[in-house]
């Protein structure tokens, strides 16, 4: 999921608020959607810092990851984000080896999903269909 890509760059770095943001993203990767009080406070702090406003819908894991990415863009010098070889830059090696897959479709019926996606894209057929 998107949060799992972002969290790679927060590992290995300690201090506030990095630890709190890491915990916030880690909770987004679990199947339980509820936030702890500490993570909710972190979410409010993060959203106020990067966009100046807080909405309840920021609880969604994708939006948490988006806020974390914006926060990283404001503090990018402090983290080892950059690709330093051609394979990493192309996204075929290391931490940069990721791509975005949009897993759901309003146009696909259940029959089509089972017969085509289950056969050709089994990696999309997971219990958690979150981005």
């Amino acid at each position: 999921m998107l949060g799992s890509v972002v969290i790679r760059y927060l590992e290995g770095t300690d201090g506030l608020p990095v630890n709190d943001i890491r915990m916030l993203l880690a909770e987004g990767l679990s199947s339980d959607p509820m936030l702890t009080d500490a993570s909710l406070a972190t979410l409010k702090m993060l959203s106020q810092e990067v966009v100046g406003v807080f909405f309840e819908r920021f609880h969604a894991p994708v939006l948490r990851a988006a806020l974390a990415v914006l926060w990283l863009s404001l503090h990018r010098e402090k983290f080892p984000l950059l690709a330093d070889n051609l394979r990493s830059a192309a996204g075929t090696a290391g931490k940069k080896r990721w791509a975005l897959i949009l897993p759901s479709s309003a146009s696909v019926s259940q029959v089509t999903y089972v017969t085509i996606i289950g056969v050709r894209y089994p990696e999309l057929d997971t219990p958690s269909k979150r981005i």
């Binding site: 806020l67 070889n85 479709s105």
Partner: protein, 282 residues
């Protein structure tokens, strides 16, 4: 040979390329021999481990600033302040995409910012049919254009059908003419012979192409016409592409065509290429 567990490296020198039973032109094949080292991974699928100078956000200042501004605008959603007619129209157009609980559009913009932060040259976006990839891409490009109308963006699709399908996605956003006027869809002779149902307001016929090209910031081209344009020695399209900030290759994985290597060759080294991943890319 006791190679198990050992890294095996060898330099490879390509002396000549032979094609047997293929209809590719010499110009198509020349794309590979002229490929810059930075593009070898993308264009040829070669695993190159040479170090290179990282692409920081400062080397793509316009695209990075516009992408961050767009993501902030998207997250602020209904509370976003608008400073112009274009931003007001964009806010109205993006509202249903942002509110959609699949979050596909938000994820697409986030992936773009993340790729720029990491200094990547490639941002693959894949998904099942009907997931909304082209729609999200069109909305993202429209958003980038509103945030910075000086950005140059190239969209290459697999054929005229996809090029004709991408343009309506853009037009459905109903942005002001000051934004729509910056977008052009390159149409060739074959497309012009089709009925009026295939026409869009973004079409740039061949007769006016050289004059109109300079006023466009976004060009939509299909595979065959795009390759023909770029293979010409003094192609104005190829010249236009030398300053591209972002290139999108829609349906780039299909049909094993050479569009992606050609796109990799013609775009500047710091341009971000987005599209479906090539084989073995992740």
């Amino acid at each position: 040979m006791q190679l198990a567990g050992k890294a095996f490296e060898a330099g490879v020198m390509v002396e000549d390329i032979y094609h047997l039973g293929d209809t590719r032109s010499a110009d198509d094949l020349a794309a590979f021999t002229q490929m810059a080292p930075e593009r070898l991974c993308l264009g040829c699928g070669l695993r190159v481990d040479e170090p290179f100078a990282p692409l920081t956000a400062r080397e793509r200042p316009k695209l990075f600033a516009a992408a961050c501004k767009l993501l902030t605008f998207v997250l602020r959603d209904v509370s976003a302040q608008t400073n112009s007619e274009e931003e007001e129209a964009l806010k109205k157009a993006l509202a249903p995409l942002i509110a959609n609980e699949d979050f596909h559009f938000v994820a697409t913009v986030t992936a773009l910012v993340q790729s720029l932060l990491q200094g990547r040259t490639d941002c693959p976006i894949s998904g099942v049919f009907g997931a909304g990839k082209s729609r999200a891409a069109a909305a993202m490009i429209a958003g980038l254009l509103v945030m910075d109308p000086t950005l140059k963006i190239m969209i290459v699709t697999k054929g005229n059908v996809a090029a004709q399908a991408f343009a309506p996605h853009f037009l459905r956003l109903e942005l002001p003419s000051s934004i729509n006027g910056l977008v052009g869809r390159l149409v060739g002779y074959v497309e012009l012979q089709k009925g009026p149902a295939n026409k869009t307001d973004l079409d740039v016929p061949p007769a006016f192409r050289n004059d109109v090209l300079r006023s466009k910031q976004v060009l939509i081209g299909c595979g065959g016409g795009f390759r023909q344009e770029c293979s010409q020695p003094c192609s104005p399209v190829a010249k236009w592409m030398e300053e591209v900030d972002l290139a999108l290759n829609d349906e780039g994985r299909q049909y094993g065509n050479l569009d992606k290597p050609l796109l990799s060759l013609l775009c500047p080294e710091d341009a971000l290429l987005s599209g479906r991943p090539s084989e073995g890319n992740f």
